[in-house]
Symmetry: C2
Subunit: 194 residues, 2 copies
């Protein structure tokens, strides 16, 4: 089955609707989703940014929040503008990398996005992630995997792979090496036959 | 009839498919198109940029050219990557402002985009714009209007209005005060009932 790689960053706003939509759409298109958590921070830093463009470009930021609100309303997704943006997604990303391949991971990712962008919870906190693990009948002790050097090294390598592929934002979809950037390119990525 | 304002900049790549699509889609949606040429340069400069982000963010630029190529292929639009980017759209924008309301103006705009992004012609040149005017059975002397201080002042005022409305990129569509940014938001803007 053809794979669609879903490159996401937990702080990324437009990755939220993408994460909520991708599995059903991929099933209908007979594509297998590969979940690829990575960090945008190092990619932004490499071009001299130490914050999100949605913060240092205020007009673009105002537009993005309104646009995201419209998208969530259309999809029936809860939306609450986070009181802190961007949230630090490092711990969640390390956990996702440390638990790669587990069958509950896609639902974990979706619940972290809901917590961040639907409920304004602080996803940088071990307590918040631990509660999500419990809601999935997984032990909180899985958080230890996030702190293991294996997860740290693997997340660093994954972020370097993202940059090497030309990824500069999230969400990004990759199908047979072809890049599609943004939630609004998901359908096109799934239809790609190149 | 409800209006859709189409804010465009002649150098803007994604404004090309938007300009080619908007009239037929607006007619089907019973919307009247208001053509609003403006300049992105002063808006970029206000945030400290003296070039297009597609140039100073190379990964994003590479992606944009590939994405635009895919969009044009899908729409059956000619595409040739301009040998100079961004082209200087000042003269074309002044001409468009100076000839606002003329019934041939939308077709003039489309032909300027085709020249820039479909044929790699230098749209900063009076000769290129004059030939387009002639192809529309309009006198080349209309170019004089672009050089009149009225057109210069009006383009400056229009660009200030764009910034005041929160416009930060092109194309942008405005319906009843609601902003939609990007060629891929055209359908949503046309359907807006807010």
């Amino acid at each position: 089955m053809v794979e669609i790689e879903f490159w996401f960053e937990f702080a990324s706003t437009y990755s939220y609707p993408a994460a909520m939509r991708i599995e059903a759409l991929a099933r209908a298109a007979e594509r297998r989703v590969c979940w690829r958590p990575f960090l945008l921070g190092p990619i932004f830093q490499a071009q001299g940014w130490n914050d999100s463009p949605f913060n240092f470009q205020p007009a673009k930021g105002r537009y993005m929040w309104r646009d995201l609100e419209r998208i969530c309303a259309r999809l029936g997704l809860p939306f609450r503008r986070p009181s802190v943006f961007p949230r630090n997604g490092l711990l969640a990303a390390r956990l996702a990398v440390g638990c790669a391949g587990e069958d509950w991971l896609p639902e974990f990712v979706r619940r972290v996005y809901s917590a961040n962008l639907g409920e304004d919870r602080d996803i940088s906190q071990a307590e918040v992630l631990g509660a999500i693990l419990e809601s999935l009948a997984q032990p909180r002790s899985l958080l230890d995997r996030a702190h293991a050097s294996r997860a740290k090294d693997e997340l660093r390598a994954q972020t370097e792979r993202a940059a090497a592929r030309g990824i500069f934002g999230a969400p990004t979809f990759v199908v047979n090496g072809e890049l599609f950037w943004g939630n609004d390119r998901l359908e096109e990525a799934l239809a790609w036959r190149g």
